[in-house]
């Protein structure tokens, strides 16, 4: 009788252990498969291994894409073109690899009262009507020094935010003011 009881309790204990293990295994897989969402600049694209590198919070994270990845505002055939652009990526971690579920190009909405100017229109101004507009490069100063659009001046957006209205104080309020940076972000 005693023997049987022991056997039964052992069985119950074993069952309990197995269940706990299963549960924790399930928990581990579910956390591993949990979707991560990050925003950052694409610093590299390797088409051969279908991988992009996203700079996020001081880290460079490699993320793979595949046939199931959803692309937004991006032509998957021209994925190289997202290099240097700002993206939002949703991915899961499978066997230590980051697999993209979604890669979305961040397209900033134009604030109210602001319109877009196209290359041909800007070129016409730059080459034919200098002085009729102010062209402002919003990127960090070192980027401006290395390569700027002719006639542009440098006022990084960070400086405008920090120092306020006085950064544009010597420009007439009705002057055409054009801002640009490193792409549609």
């Amino acid at each position: 009788m005693m023997e049987l009881f022991r056997l039964r309790s052992m069985r119950a204990l074993l069952l309990f252990l197995i269940l706990t293990l299963l549960q924790s295994a399930l928990w581990v897989t579910s956390t591993m498969a949990q979707e991560q969402s990050i925003k950052g600049q694409v610093s590299a694209v390797a088409v051969t291994i279908q991988t992009i590198t996203v700079d996020h919070a001081g880290k460079k994270i490699n993320i793979k894409y595949d046939d199931k990845t959803v692309f937004q505002h991006i032509d998957p055939k021209k994925i190289r073109e997202i290099q240097g652009q700002e993206v939002e990526v949703k991915y899961v971690v499978v066997d230590g690899k980051n697999i993209a579920k979604l890669i979305k190009l961040a397209i900033a909405e134009l604030p109210q009262g602001v319109t877009e100017i196209k290359t041909s229109e800007l070129a016409k101004l730059v080459f034919e009507s200098p002085g009729t507009y102010v062209l402002i490069d919003s990127r960090p100063a070192p980027r401006y020094h290395a390569s700027y659009i002719p006639t542009a001046i440098s006022i990084p957006v960070t400086v405008m935010e920090k120092e306020g209205e006085k950064t544009l104080a010597n420009i007439a309020k009705d002057k055409l003011v054009i801002f640009y940076c490193g792409g549609p972000t």
Binding site: A46, I49, T51, G96, T119, A123, C181
Partner: protein, 248 residues
């Protein structure tokens, strides 16, 4: 960045605000040149080309570190350009109409990072900056600056000979089979999370691929796994038979 700046301008009462969404990359892509500042020419490791006639330069002097390649000789001067095609190149002239054509010629040689200093010597001198007199060099000597995480080709080749570093080849196993460095360890970028723990930790690790793109990705992956002593070979690597070539 620019939409945010435009929003601020509107808030501050500007009535006619536009954004050029394609930005600096879009401008270059459309075939137009961009400019560099005097500050950039002074401080950075660049190739500076003076496109004027030697006779004019003899009279006026030139911007320090400039090399003379007269505009009329430029299209035949490809072999004078550095082996490192990503070298930043800045050109100047006294004929503004030459600049666009010169940029196009140099881009066609395979150097995408070419910009102009449109003010030329006149603007440079007007800023009170140093003007050099005497004979101007006619040969480009460009020594590339390596970023802290890059290994130079020379150091990489030294490690191949003396085994002072672990060479990690992050190309695919198929590419590795077709040719690789003697003693190199093959872990493709995709396999790094699983296999990195097998790498020795007592030596520096040099990562390479075929061009440098995947090598940098491999470097990122190793760094994120806690490897500290890692460098990347940013160069083109090719294997033909049992021979290899490494080019910038």
């Amino acid at each position: 960045m620019s939409p945010k700046a435009a929003g601020l301008a509107v808030k501050w009462g500007f009535k006619n605000v536009k954004v050029y969404m394609d930005g600096e990359p879009g401008w270059k892509k459309a075939g137009y040149y961009t400019e560099s500042t005097a500050d950039y020419i002074q401080k950075e490791n660049i190739v500076l080309i003076d496109l004027r006639d030697p006779q004019t330069i003899a009279k006026t002097g030139y911007i320090p570190k400039a090399v003379n390649i007269p505009m009329k000789d430029l299209s035949k001067a490809e072999e004078k350009f550095p082996t490192y095609t990503k070298a930043p190149i800045v050109i100047y002239s006294d004929k503004k109409e030459d600049l666009a054509e010169a940029v196009k010629i140099i881009k066609d040689f395979g150097y995408p990072n070419v910009t102009v200093y449109s003010g030329g010597l006149q603007e440079w001198a007007a800023k009170g900056l140093e003007v050099k007199k005497g004979p101007i060099p006619t040969q480009i000597h460009y020594v590339r600056t390596y970023r802290p995480f890059e290994v130079s080709i020379a150091d990489f080749e030294k490690a191949l000979k003396d085994g002072s570093a672990v060479i990690v080849d992050v190309r695919t196993p198929e590419e590795f089979k077709r040719g690789h460095f003697k003693g190199a360890i093959n872990i493709s970028v995709d396999d790094i999370p699983q296999k990195a723990h097998t790498l020795p930790k007592d030596k520096p690790i040099y990562v390479h691929c075929a061009t440098g793109v995947r090598a940098e990705m491999g470097y990122n992956a190793l760094k994120n796994l806690g490897f500290e002593n890692v460098k990347v070979l940013m160069a083109n690597v090719e294997f033909v038979g049992d021979k290899y070539t490494i080019t910038e």
